[in-house]
């Protein structure tokens, strides 16, 4: 059986196993408080911001680049959203639109320097990390911009009405099963054998069960938090972009061998710039969730968030050398990091220990990855 499992699948199992281990450990250590509906709701709400950042970052890392400006950019975009909302009383939709466009513009700016001017992305985004933070402090005069309107609070603080939540998840489950069915049928028509195919229904079933359990837990508290719905939607879109579109394919190819990809006639520069632009939009979404949750734009917001996003990607199996990685893995990485944070906080572990443990987990995850690759 193990021969038919690919490395990527093995990695997925390892990640799920790690997640399970963490859940079991903290559940026992906290006498079940860790898996109470209230805490599960909290935990995945905490995942949302790093999760959305990781979705953008994973594309950047797959293309063999890095973005260190994400934290400052999130602070700046969150600040812009707060200013539009508090100072200018923009309607919520316009605030969202302007923030996302600003995120796209900042991302494309980074990408232009990296792709067309050939400045290493480490340097371009290090410069951005400094400059974006500076602009934020300059715009706000170093003061918190508050209080934001109640309509902006919807993005980060509200819950989806239960009828809506249940139907969305229900549709998702049905869609998942229908997709597996359609794919098997198509494969039969083309006469293609796939050894991994027999696990397909089992995999879809596991996903459905996990979704339903989560739904039950969330509904027995206050319902599905809106940020999680947003993240869920973005996961679906980003996975589709990565796996099924020509753009996604080219991003992987660029990370795998940029020279060969250029020789194949791919517009390498434009693709790279778009990757940074996409990342900028994800940062804008994360910034909106952050500002909405805090109810304010703070000059220190998003400090060091880029490191959490990078760590999430790497724990989720993304290779810093490029060409390897997946959106789902990055989300799992973010969830693992958030679980550790949450669990240790519940156990009253001092903050300094939390940092040490997270650092060690990051090291351990990559070490295991290197080891298993060598073993092959």
């Amino acid at each position: 059986m193990f021969k038919t499992i690919k490395t990527s699948q093995l990695q997925l199992f390892a990640m799920l196993a790690a997640m399970l281990l963490i859940v079991v450990f903290f559940s026992i250590a906290t006498d079940g408080a860790f898996i109470s509906p209230r805490n599960i709701s909290n935990l995945i709400r905490q995942t949302a911001i790093v999760g959305v950042l990781a979705i953008g970052m994973v594309f950047v890392i797959i293309s063999a680049e890095i973005d260190l400006s994400v934290g400052s950019m999130m602070g700046l975009l969150g600040g812009i959203a707060a200013i539009l909302d508090v100072w200018f009383n923009f309607p919520i939709l316009l605030t969202v639109l302007v923030t996302v466009i600003a995120g796209l513009a900042l991302g494309l700016f980074n990408g232009w320097w990296v792709a067309y001017q050939r400045v290493p992305s480490f340097i371009v985004t290090l410069a951005g990390m400094l400059a974006f933070r500076g602009i934020l402090v300059g715009l706000t005069d170093g003061a918190t911009v508050a209080p934001t309107s109640s309509s902006l609070a919807v993005i980060g603080q509200s819950y989806v009405p239960s009828g809506w939540g249940i139907s969305v998840v229900g549709l998702l489950c049905l869609g998942l099963i229908a997709k597996v069915y359609a794919r098997r049928k198509a494969r039969k028509q083309h006469g293609v054998e796939n050894k991994a195919a027999k696990f397909e229904y089992a995999k879809a079933l596991v996903a459905v069960v996990v979704l339903l359990v989560l739904l039950y837990a969330l509904e027995s508290y206050r319902g599905i938090p809106t940020p999680i719905l947003i993240m869920g939607g973005l996961i679906l879109i980003a996975t589709y972009v990565a796996k099924r579109t020509a753009f996604g394919r080219r991003v992987y190819a660029i990370g795998g061998n940029i020279e060969a990809t250029r020789m194949s006639g791919v517009n390498v520069e434009r693709t790279k710039m778009l990757v940074f632009g996409f990342n900028g939009m994800m940062v804008a979404v994360a910034a909106l969730i952050l500002t909405s949750r805090l109810g304010a734009g703070s000059p220190a917001a998003g400090n060091m968030a880029e490191l959490d996003a990078i760590a999430a990607c790497v724990i989720g199996g993304t290779s810093l050398a490029g060409g390897v990685g997946a959106v789902f893995g990055a989300i799992m990485g973010a969830l693992i990091m958030a679980s550790l944070d949450n669990g240790m906080s519940m156990l009253d572990v001092p903050t300094f220990w939390q940092l040490i443990v997270k650092g060690m987990i990051l090291l351990l995850a990559v070490w295991l990855d290197v080891k298993t690759k060598k073993a092959q």
Binding site: R244, R249, N257, A260
Partner: protein, 509 residues
Amino acid sequence: MTQPLLDMRGIVKSFSGVRALNGVSIQLARGEALSICGENGSGKSTLMKVLSGVWPHGSYEGEIFFEGNLVKAATIRDTEALGIVIIHQELALVKELSVLENIFLGNELGSFARLNDEEMHRRTSELLARVKLDVLPDTPIRDLGVGQQQLVEIAKALNKNVKLLILDEPTSSLTTTEIDILLNIVGELKQQGIACIYISHKLDEVLALSDWVTVIRDGDHIDTKSAADLTQNDIISMMVGRELDELFPREEHDIGDVVLRVKHATAKQAGAPRAQVDDVSFELRQGEILGIAGLIGSGRTELMQCLYGSYDGEYQAEIELEGQTVNIRSQRVALEAGIAMVPEDRKRHGIVPIMSVGRNITLSVLGQYSSWFGAVNEDKESHDINDYIAQLKVKTASADLSIKNLSGGNQQKAIIAKCLLTHPKILILDEPTRGIDVGAKYEIYKLMFALVKQGMSIIMVSSELSEVIGISDRVLVMHEGRLKGQFDHQGLTQEMIMNCAIKEGVANV
């Protein structure tokens, strides 16, 4: 033979149940050279990895004796200490460091605090004299040609008191002159009592250099014979297990009108004193195979890069494709105009190693399968992939396998498939058969003739003169960036091309 220097007995090596080597035995005395021949994937490299300690003692069956002692190596360092040094096809020199620093890398003379530069300098000069390399010890490696770098590698091996030198495809990127120098030096080393194992696809070199020839096929030891008793055809039939009527399956085909007219092509690196391509003009006809010969550095590859838009300096050329003037600024424009290229450096410019065979094949034409928002129609895509894999006989377990797992010949076929999917009018092949085995070469030649019969035109750059003569309809020879000669294949000999490529003199265009 008295006590042999090297005695490998019944080596068996398996990878997850598959036998890569199935009882291979070789013996070699001091001062002798043994060539190992076999198609790619036959087990040559595995055998050398066993010998050099990449696969440690205990991971294979059989025994290795060196100077009469059983070798129990755990790493390459152990075998190097015994005097077994392997020089790989991909050179292991640090380009930023000097000749001297590379030769003594890891074995620096002097104390921890202070290096003994005078002694290292003296020894380096001695070693360079032994390999007849006329450069200063302080020259950075990056300033040397590939052939010269190879000699530095040999000097480095000599510095380690080498007793058995293994050369793995040393000449695949060398010019004829450089190869002669290398072969001479190996000959001299033999006289000094150093044994040599030589791995090469170039059978003329094999016969010129070695005392013994061992042929391996699919991990089996076919035979070891005295080189004096063998011809190239003998070796080939032992390698492929069948008689090849001829190396070059020339087929008659019709040649039509001019499709490509290149005028005044010039290419120059910014700040370089000399142009790499210097005012070259030529024509290509429909259904023609145009061979381009010349030494490495003569501007052949750079001329092709101008046609494909991949030259990384300043370049200009008046290019007329089917009567239309085209301005090829990038690879994309070239592909759109109908020019595709199989690049010289397969690993760097050809494949995306971690991606699957199928995805490598469709990389150039993803747009063809995409809807308006970029979704790839994977059914249509895999249909085409399977189609081309079958047509070009790419040997792969599945289209989903990473392309890095394929042999060089099959990787090359996949890259050709990638080019063909763009439906080019002109196909440029830069060193299409470098480092690939005889069987795959033959299939690529067959394919080239099939393509020109369909009306495609092919430009082939090659360092192998027999190939240039055997395949091309017409041959252009380049020398120092200029077009120096033009020949019809009828009656063309290797000497004529070499004379034109090497000697200064009046152009014969």
